[in-house]
């Protein structure tokens, strides 16, 4: 089945009682039990809710996994995934990992005996050097946030599999439409579904998909025990958003390329990071492992004052955190998404104070480019 068809028709069983084509919103906490001897499918909504279940089935099907799990936020999905490990375990993560994941690894990890090493995941030697006998998992983000660096996911996953290291891939930037890490050997995929999957800046949600029943059991246990679940209304809105994922992505990534090219040609822009540009270091690599380049780009204007001027003067994009919405969002990683990372570590990664990140939405691309250029003054 083609992805576009799958998006609309998988996991959406028509409600038997009424024939409704859209999944009903089960705003309910508990379910009547017919028989004390029989374990019914639905008992309590924290454990299983029919609306949430529909979304969980859909994401599992789209990513090609054995089971899906929906959480109250992307970071709740990441936390649940990290909590399947235990005291004494070691994790490897990218240096430029999302600030929220960084916060869990650095602030919560040590409290519970989980250690980590941050590496440049575009460099296989770096990853290899970080492995210890206690290494249990490797967290990957590709393309990375906000510099859009591309890691060789198939190669890393194959390498990790040989060593029994679990690979966890944050697929937020690409979505299963453009990149399906489980197909090339990843073990777990996580999403901030707040972004492209729900796509409308209206839901905070997280998803996880597993490649094996054993990992599904472990994540399912954490989801139910810790209870950071997604509510039925938000689960329904996420499913509603998913229906237009392909058309939104198609449009936004075309616009992203147009804007990236336009900014590259502007003399006030020192660097443009977008893997869709043929000159981007990860361009060829991403071609081999994904069906597109996504709709997020970042650009460095070389001067903090100019960066601030742009943030002040843009009219079309929302100046805000988050990304992956129908509305374009312009953000300032040093002060927003990556503020939790100490300044020195940040600049070491290349996240300068003159770097801006643009999540390209569904506005006219020419309007967007012109708006950014006029904002530079």
């Amino acid at each position: 089945m083609d992805f576009a068809t799958k998006l609309l028709h998988v996991g959406v069983e028509i409600d038997k009682a009424t024939g409704a084509v859209s999944v009903p919103i089960y705003q309910v906490s508990t379910f009547h039990q017919e028989d004390v001897e029989v374990n019914q499918e639905f008992q309590y909504s924290r454990s299983e809710n029919p609306t949430r279940r529909a979304l969980e089935k859909i994401i599992a099907a789209l990513e090609g996994g054995t089971a899906g799990f929906a959480f109250a936020s992307g970071i709740a999905a990441v936390s649940a995934t990290i909590l399947i490990f235990g005291q004494g375990d070691h994790l490897i993560a990218p240096k430029d990992v999302y600030g929220g994941t960084y916060r869990i690894l650095t602030k919560d990890g040590p409290r519970w005996g989980i250690s980590h090493t941050l590496v440049d995941t575009t460099n296989m030697d770096d990853i290899e050097a970080a492995v210890t006998p206690a290494t249990k998992a490797l967290i990957l983000e590709s393309p990375s946030n906000p510099l859009l660096k591309v890691s060789d996911l198939p190669r890393i996953c194959a390498w990790a599999k040989e060593r029994g290291i679990i690979t966890i891939i944050d697929n937020t930037f690409m979505t299963p439409y453009l990149q399906r890490p489980l197909e090339f050997g990843a073990d777990i995929v996580v999403h901030s579904a707040t972004k492209f999957i729900a796509g409308h800046s209206d839901v905070v949600a997280g998803l996880a998909v597993t490649a094996s029943p054993e990992l599904a059991r472990r994540i399912g246990q954490i989801q139910n025990s810790l209870g950071a679940i997604l509510g039925p209304q938000d689960a329904w809105l996420t499913m509603r958003g998913l229906k237009t994922l392909k058309v939104r992505m198609d449009f936004s990534q075309k616009s992203a390329l147009y804007i990236a090219q336009g900014l590259s040609e502007h003399r006030g822009v020192k660097a443009v990071h977008y893997p869709g540009l043929p000159g981007h270091t990860g361009h060829q690599l991403l071609r081999g492992q994904a069906d597109g380049f996504g709709a997020v780009l970042s650009f460095d204007v070389g001067d903090v004052a100019v960066a601030k001027k742009i943030m002040d003067n843009v009219r079309i994009p929302a100046v805000a955190v988050s990304l992956g919405a129908v509305e374009s969002i312009l953000s300032y990683p040093a002060k927003m998404s990556h503020a939790a990372i100490p300044p020195l570590v940040r600049s070491d990664m290349g996240i300068t104070d003159s770097l801006l990140r643009l999540s390209v939405g569904l506005e006219d691309p020419e309007d967007l480019l012109n708006d950014i250029i006029q904002a530079m003054g």
């Binding site: 705003q27 309910v28 906490s29 508990t30 379910f31 009547h32 039990q33 017919e34 028989d35 004390v36 001897e37 008992q43 309590y44 909504s45 924290r46 809710n49 959480f71 109250a72 936020s73 970071i75 709740a76 936390s79 909590l83 235990g86 005291q87 929220g100 869990i104 602030k107 919560d108 409290r111 519970w112 005996g113 707040t194 729900a198 800046s201 209206d202 839901v203 905070v204 997280g206 246990q221 954490i222 025990s225 810790l226 209870g227 950071a228 679940i229 997604l230 509510g231 209304q233 601030k308 002040d312 929302a318 100046v319 805000a320 955190v321 988050s322 919405a325 969002i329 300032y332 002060k335």
Partner: protein, 378 residues
């Protein structure tokens, strides 16, 4: 302002733009910044959402805390509290605590090196004896689930203060309408808001509030860092439920008292656990620290074979997990809420195959009793 007034006015007229009496549902993920380095106070909904903020302020006001926090479930709320501690720390918990709390301590946090001991919360000496140098918190439920044992909140809070440890009270069963543990010296109050606070069996949610502002900051940090937040629609439904809290609690209390007295006289019922009954050992402490007994009771039937009979014969009362809703629910703790608890502990506590837990709703109590009567009849 009296509690009943306060509870009706939670979230009233919070929208300066329109003056709407009811709080708007901000189904929104992110917020525009007026300019770089400036914020409206809202940046990203995981961190802070206007609808969730209203319900968070409400629980803090009702419990007497300095800040409140809303979570995607009662267990997510408990998790955010447990995450205040670290590997090597020790927590003392009520032995007949909610099965989900036991599970998260026993199955999840134990593997991260958090130690837990379980004590009879109604026995102060036993609690004192369990304190170790590494003890960081006491997690108390009163009345307990499902055996309705009463813990002396003030005495335990005094003990906790002396030893420099946190006193956490799960106040789900009574709600701030009947019992306000922070006023009695507790440090943190947690709720499964799915129960009486939301009250309609339609939302899964959790709430936390605390007195100390530093403690509140730490809980807020955990809420944002691990992201088990409550969505805006569910936050709004919780707020809506809270408005009738006082009316509902009075009715739950009245119906449960009547049902408990009726059950106590029933020939097929061997024991009734309800703090409103004269013979309840915790009645005096309950009088001292709470203004009601709540809507929860448990009872033992003479023969375990009666359990499946009652569960299949009840018509008005729904056989389902959870509690605290307007509809009466009956639960079999042994196989449902407390299934995760080791058999040895269950049998020692009295969570047997004869025990049923009843969440008494706000239907006409005569109908509830009639339903129980026909279900108990051979």
């Amino acid at each position: 302002m009296k509690f009943t007034t306060k509870v009706v006015h939670v979230g009233v007229n919070t929208d300066p733009t329109t003056g709407a009496i009811s709080t708007p549902i901000y189904q929104n993920a992110t917020f525009c910044h007026p300019a770089l380095g400036q914020s409206t106070g809202f940046d990203y909904s995981r961190t802070k959402n206007p609808t969730r903020s209203v319900v968070e302020k409400a629980i803090a006001d009702l419990e007497g805390g300095s800040a409140g926090f809303a979570f995607s479930s009662g267990m997510a709320a408990i998790t955010a509290i447990i995450m205040l501690y670290r590997a090597g720390d020790h927590i003392i918990c009520t032995e007949d605590c909610y099965g989900g709390t036991f599970r998260v301590l026993d199955k999840v946090f134990a593997k991260f090196g958090l130690e837990a001991s379980y004590v009879d919360g109604s026995c102060l000496a036993e609690i004192a004896k369990a304190v170790r140098p590494s003890t960081k918190a006491l997690l108390i439920e009163t009345p307990t689930n499902p055996l309705m044992k009463i813990a002396d909140i003030q005495a335990i809070a005094d003990l906790a203060r002396d030893r420099g440890i946190h006193m956490i009270v799960d106040n789900t069963f009574l709600s701030p309408y009947f019992q306000r543990p922070l006023e009695l010296g507790a440090d943190i109050v947690v709720h499964s808001g799915s129960k009486y606070l939301a009250g309609h069996n339609d939302v899964v949610c959790g709430l936390v509030t605390a007195r100390d502002t530093t403690l509140c900051e730490q809980i807020g940090f955990n809420q944002n860092a691990t992201g088990g937040i409550l969505g805006p629609q569910d936050a709004w439904l919780l707020l809506r439920g809270m408005k009738t809290l006082a009316l509902r609690m009075d009715k739950h209390n009245q119906n449960a008292t009547t049902a408990a007295h009726w059950l106590a006289k029933h020939p097929k019922v061997t024991k009734v656990y309800y703090p409103g009954l004269d013979e309840h050992p915790g009645k005096e402490i309950q009088h001292k620290q709470a203004s009601g007994y709540g809507g929860m009771l448990s009872f033992e039937v003479v023969d375990a074979d009666l359990v499946p009979q009652v569960l299949s014969k009840v018509r008005l009362i729904q056989f389902a997990e959870s509690l605290g809703g307007v509809e009466s629910l009956i639960t079999f703790p042994y196989a449902q809420t407390h299934a995760e608890m080791p058999e040895e502990l269950r049998s020692r506590l009295g969570i047997s195959g004869n025990l049923l837990r009843l969440s008494v709703g706000i239907e006409d109590v005569e109908d509830i009793i009639a339903d129980l009567a026909q279900a108990l009849k051979k």
